[in-house]
């Protein structure tokens, strides 16, 4: 087990997905095509969308990269690729470090289960062992501030309470690389302050943060580098101080 400093290296990354429309998912249509037509291979299965083309970036420990771009420009796809869910069609993704993807706070939340069970479940999905979770359970429970409500089913929670629980559970993992789709701002003012502190802490511990957001002030506050995606094509990674130039470009 050789130690390697935390880093992300992406080179020439292309991701294309076939989009299977409701039609294309039907077996009848598929068979009808195979039997009947001689449509090209690209038409036979589905429409192909190029979500990212030739994206390269290099991040070292301490880098906090902001991703900007319009809706559908490929920000989330890039985050999912970095989390390991999407595999590249071309190019390579090389990540050293434990990855935590906070892309969807509600991942794995079971509304019928109580707060404690949901914390356990989420922790298991994030890669903690049952013992590690038990060791951390009190701390997480305290952070949620939900007290006795943790023994109640999550479906009885208000939206804010659910968000508190999800946030506490999702951020309880120790990670080197933190991926976020929009800065997480949940709960009431008190909790936001707590959440803010916790995230900063996590970012400091994490080493690398990749944050996709539309809020430029937020990016200025948290990031030191920025990259713009436009229709799947990425700009070079630049210093956050040049954000305005990047936007003007």
């Amino acid at each position: 087990m050789s130690g390697h400093p935390v880093s992300i290296t992406v080179s020439g990354l292309c991701i294309r997905f076939p989009v299977y429309g409701v039609d294309a998912k039907s077996l009848k249509k598929h068979l009808a095509r195979t039997v009947g037509g001689r449509l090209g291979p690209s038409q036979a299965g589905a429409t192909e969308v190029t979500a990212l083309s030739n994206v390269s970036l290099e991040l070292r420990a301490g880098d906090r990269l902001g991703l900007i771009g319009h809706n559908g420009s490929g920000k989330t796809t890039l985050l999912r690729a970095l989390s390991g869910a999407y595999e590249p069609d071309e190019g390579t993704i090389d990540v050293h470090g434990r990855i935590a993807a906070l892309l969807d706070l509600n991942l794995g939340v079971d509304p019928a289960a109580n707060g404690y069970d949901n914390i356990r479940l989420r922790g298991r999905i994030a890669g903690l062992t049952a013992r590690e979770i038990d060791a951390r359970l009190d701390e997480i429970a305290e952070f949620t501030g939900l007290g006795p409500f943790l023994a109640m089913p999550v479906k009885t929670y208000s939206a804010g309470m659910q968000a508190r629980l999800a946030f506490a559970a999702a951020t309880a993992v120790e990670a080197d690389v933190l991926l976020m789709d929009e800065w997480i701002a949940v709960g009431d003012a008190d909790f936001q302050k707590l959440a803010h502190k916790r995230l900063l802490n996590l970012v400091e511990r994490a080493g690398i943060l990749v944050l996709a957001s539309h809020e430029l002030d937020l990016l200025r506050l948290y990031c030191n580098k920025v990259m713009r995606l436009e229709g799947g094509v990425a700009s070079p990674v630049t210093d956050i101080r040049k954000l305005d130039e990047l936007l003007a470009a």
Binding site: K25, L27, V95, L103, A113
Partner: protein, 277 residues
């Protein structure tokens, strides 16, 4: 900050590379087999939350079915209750497991869409989750078998080790079929309906409600029915009989062939499954 965790993803193609990635998926799912177990037991707990008897409701309805069909068919076929009820009980309980693994297999990947699209959890983890969930159900339903075998005195000459071997064969075969159904269902939304129909058809074609001996010379109905071998490998030893040796060779061949095909399909579709969802 140093770290030992490393993720390398490349767009490299080629069958060997994809095979290697598929094997790696399998290996890492086995390294984290505890996760599949946690997910499975959570499924069971959450499915039956708030009900007093929980999974035992299924056990009760199965028990009623065993009693009803056992009594009725024993009369229709003029068979002795002593032989027929244990026969029906074992058949219904273990066919239920095959049925569960294959039918629920259709949902294996579809249900895991959220997790698969934002984590690098191995795909096989979700296959094991489906298998474990059904084994937990089986553990509840085995109560019926135990009661019946004790009541009719079969516990004296049942052969548990051989039956467990049969169960291993049964699960090994149901698991690949379930996984294949899962991949196909993710891609084509018609597949779950087809699978349900096939399994419903199978329960009537397989000697579960009727004894194989009644077929007389038409044994072709048995020899081409894969479910017959799967059920027989468990049922016969539990009733103190022996399944014919070729039952095991057929089951072994089916498992090998089935897993080879399933793994081949998985190798080809692995990187696409997440886009199917």
């Amino acid at each position: 900050m140093d770290t030992a965790t490393h993720m390398l993803r490349t767009g490299q193609r080629g069958a060997l590379f994809q095979l290697n990635m598929a094997l790696r998926d399998l290996r890492s799912s086995l390294e984290r087999i505890g996760l599949a177990w946690s997910l499975a037991s959570h499924d069971i707990v959450s499915r039956y939350r708030g009900s007093i008897l929980g999974p035992f409701w299924i056990t009760i309805s199965m028990g009623l079915m065993v009693l009803g069909i056992g009594l009725l068919n024993a009369r229709l076929f003029n068979a002795s209750l002593h032989e027929f009820i244990p026969f029906v009980a074992l058949g219904i309980v273990f066919f239920g497991t095959i049925n569960g693994i294959i039918n629920e297999g259709c949902e294996t990947f579809v249900h895991a869409a959220g997790m698969l699209s934002q984590t690098s959890l191995p795909m096989f983890t979700f296959v094991w989750r489906t298998v474990f969930r059904n084994l937990i159900n089986l553990a509840h339903n085995v109560v019926i078998v135990v009661i019946v075998l004790i009541w009719f005195g079969y516990w004296r000459n049942m052969n548990i080790p051989v039956a467990v071997l049969g169960l291993v064969f049964l699960v090994a075969n149901a698991a690949w079929a379930g996984m294949l159904a899962g991949i196909a269902s993710a891609r084509f939304r018609d597949v779950p309906q087809i699978v349900i129909s096939v399994m419903q058809f199978a329960i009537f074609m397989t000697p579960i409600f009727w004894e194989p001996a009644r077929l007389g010379t038409s044994r072709i109905f048995l020899s081409v029915n894969p479910f017959y071998y799967m059920v027989e490998a468990v049922r016969a030893p539990m009733m103190g009989a022996n399944a014919t040796p070729h039952t095991y060779s057929i089951l072994a061949l089916m498992a090998l062939g089935g897993w080879a095909v399933t793994f081949g399909v998985f190798t080809r579709t692995r990187r696409r499954i997440v886009h199917y969802l």
